[in-house]
């Protein structure tokens, strides 16, 4: 079993890209049902965190910008960590993620284990 970080991204800025009130309603349930399903397989390593839309980006030479939306419309809305046999299995799990219903996406990254130098 390996661990994978699932990063949820969506457009928080563009007006047209925002979920409708109907979509927002029941969003909590969809997320909980999806995460509960992963946890029921004993594959939820961390239920992670939701992130608020406020952000700052610190760059070299004391440059701090409001962000991270200046250059990209998409921002990270949250993350969880799951365990799976392969990255393909983790991708399969992600297919049920509610972010996909509101125009977002899931990025899947393999967590490098301490003793893994590959």
């Amino acid at each position: 079993m390996k661990e994978f970080l699932l990063v949820f991204r969506r457009d928080f800025v563009t007006n047209e890209a925002q979920p409708s009130p109907e979509q927002m309603q029941g969003m909590m349930k969809h997320w909980q049902d999806w995460m509960g399903g992963i946890a029921a397989q004993n594959k939820l390593v961390s239920s992670g965190n939701r992130l608020s839309s406020e952000g700052r980006v610190v760059k070299p030479n004391n440059v701090i910008t409001k962000g991270p939306y200046v250059e990209i419309a998409e921002a990270i809305g949250g993350y969880i960590i799951v365990s799976a046999d392969s990255i393909d299995e983790a991708a399969e799990m992600s297919k049920g993620c509610p972010i996909l219903h509101i125009g977002g996406n899931v990025e899947i990254r393999t967590v490098v284990a301490m003793d893994d130098n590959s």
Partner: protein
């Protein structure tokens, strides 16, 4: 009360109290001396009361005799007296000056102190439960063996090793400090939780014993609530959980001692008083931001005190299981969550999720699949129930599965026959 019942009953309630108070005074390393003194006391009671009749206040008699026996013991065992005198802070004339305190307050303090000593991290979990049953609940080796469905030797050795460990590690029976409470309260709660479950879910046929285990777990839990330092939200939540579960005690077994499934229970037999108490403790548990697994399990148990199958009930139960599994995974929670999912979101979704659980060594997994496939694909339902039957061990489980199989076969036969007649 008949004398034949009186002594065993007193033994059950008072033996543990006197032993605990003595240990609280002597220290755990002298637990055997404490046990000997109390055994002698009861022996004397059994001999004398038959001849002279039962004293007016049997409990007070026992306390008084135990006190005298302790003084005698100290008088005749000067070395022991000296050894403990340092701890007792008695310098001279130990035997004369010793004061054994059998007030309710001191008994409660002693039992709480003993609970935290038993739950010291150096004691293995199964020994903690056996020691609690023995030292705090007054259960004999035979009863504990019966509850664990094992033989007396195993329990005898387990208790002996546990007590030995308490002695060699020099665990002090004293009022736990705030730091120790923070460190050990979770273990104390786990022990009580397991103690209760042992009674509630045990496949032991001895229903009286099982009920006693549950009541003892509740009594000890209540002891925690009576002390300001241990009266935590989680402790309240755990007691709420126990109240909700035990409210169904009378309804869950029939006159032949067979299990009556939740759906078939007579709600008139549910204990309203315990349900109310459960709600009271759950409210007290919710006065903070803390959300332990006991809160979630108590809330699930709360919803089960509503027999009616409403959408709201199952949606709430599903969300509680979703959260519970994120705090702590267990196969049984995963299976129950999937059952709730079927009730809230429908069987089709639940079957897909159930197949992913992959708990292929668990008969409950196949029973769940059997239930979910019933009326959707009865052939598959039957296949699953049959696998469940091969995996189930207890008589109760096998009976339940067989009822399901018979029901399905009947259903299939009633189907209109297709084809030419």
């Amino acid at each position: 009360m008949q004398q034949t019942e009186l002594i065993p009953n007193l033994f059950r309630t008072e033996y543990r109290k006197i032993v605990t108070v003595l240990c609280y005074l002597f220290g755990i390393e002298h637990i055997e001396i404490a046990e000997d003194i109390v055994s002698d006391t009861f022996l004397l009671a059994a001999e004398l009361w038959i001849v002279k009749g039962t004293p007016a206040n049997p409990t007070a008699w026992l306390y008084k005799v135990a006190k005298n026996k302790t003084k005698d013991y100290l008088k005749h065992n000067a070395i022991f007296a000296q050894k403990i005198s340092k701890e007792l802070k008695y310098t001279t004339r130990v035997a004369e000056s010793i004061e054994l305190d059998f007030t309710n307050q001191n008994i409660a303090d002693s039992q709480l102190a003993m609970m935290f000593a038993i739950c010291h991290p150096c004691i293995p979990e199964e020994a903690q439960i056996s020691l609690s049953l023995n030292l705090l609940c007054g259960f004999g080796v035979e009863e504990i063996a019966d509850a664990f469905l094992t033989n007396k030797d195993v329990i005898y050795k387990r208790l002996k090793r546990g007590k030995e460990k308490l002695r060699t590690e020099k665990i002090k029976i004293q009022q736990p400090t705030l730091l120790e409470i923070n460190e050990r309260l979770p273990t104390v709660l786990t022990t009580l939780y397991l103690l209760f479950n042992e009674g509630y879910y045990s496949s032991s046929q001895n229903t009286t014993l099982r009920k006693d285990l549950c009541l003892e777990a509740m009594r000890l839990n209540y002891l925690l609530l009576e002390n300001d330092n241990t009266n935590s939200n989680s402790a309240n939540a755990l007691l709420a959980l126990m109240c909700f579960h035990s409210s169904r005690f009378e309804a869950r077994t029939n006159q032949n001692g067979e299990t009556v499934l939740y759906k078939d229970q007579d709600t008139d037999l549910w204990n309203r008083e315990l349900i109310d108490k459960g709600e009271h403790f759950l409210n007290r548990a919710s006065q903070g931001n803390q959300l332990s697994k006991y809160h979630l399990e108590a809330a699930i148990a709360y919803w089960h005190t509503h027999k009616e199958d409403t959408k709201d009930k199952w949606e709430n139960i599903l969300q509680l299981y979703n959260k519970l599994l994120q705090i702590e995974y267990s196969p049984i929670a995963a299976l129950n969550r999937t059952f709730a999912l079927a009730k809230a979101n429908g069987k089709t979704v639940a079957i897909i999720e159930a197949e992913k659980l992959n708990l292929t060594d668990n008969h409950l997994y196949y029973s769940l699949l059997g239930n979910l496939y019933t009326d959707i694909d009865n052939t598959k339902a039957l296949q699953n129930f049959r696998i469940a039957l091969t995996l189930a061990n207890s008589h109760t489980d096998k009976t339940i599965i067989t009822v399901n199989i018979d029901g399905l076969i009947k259903k299939e036969k009633q189907k209109p026959t297709l084809g030419f007649v």
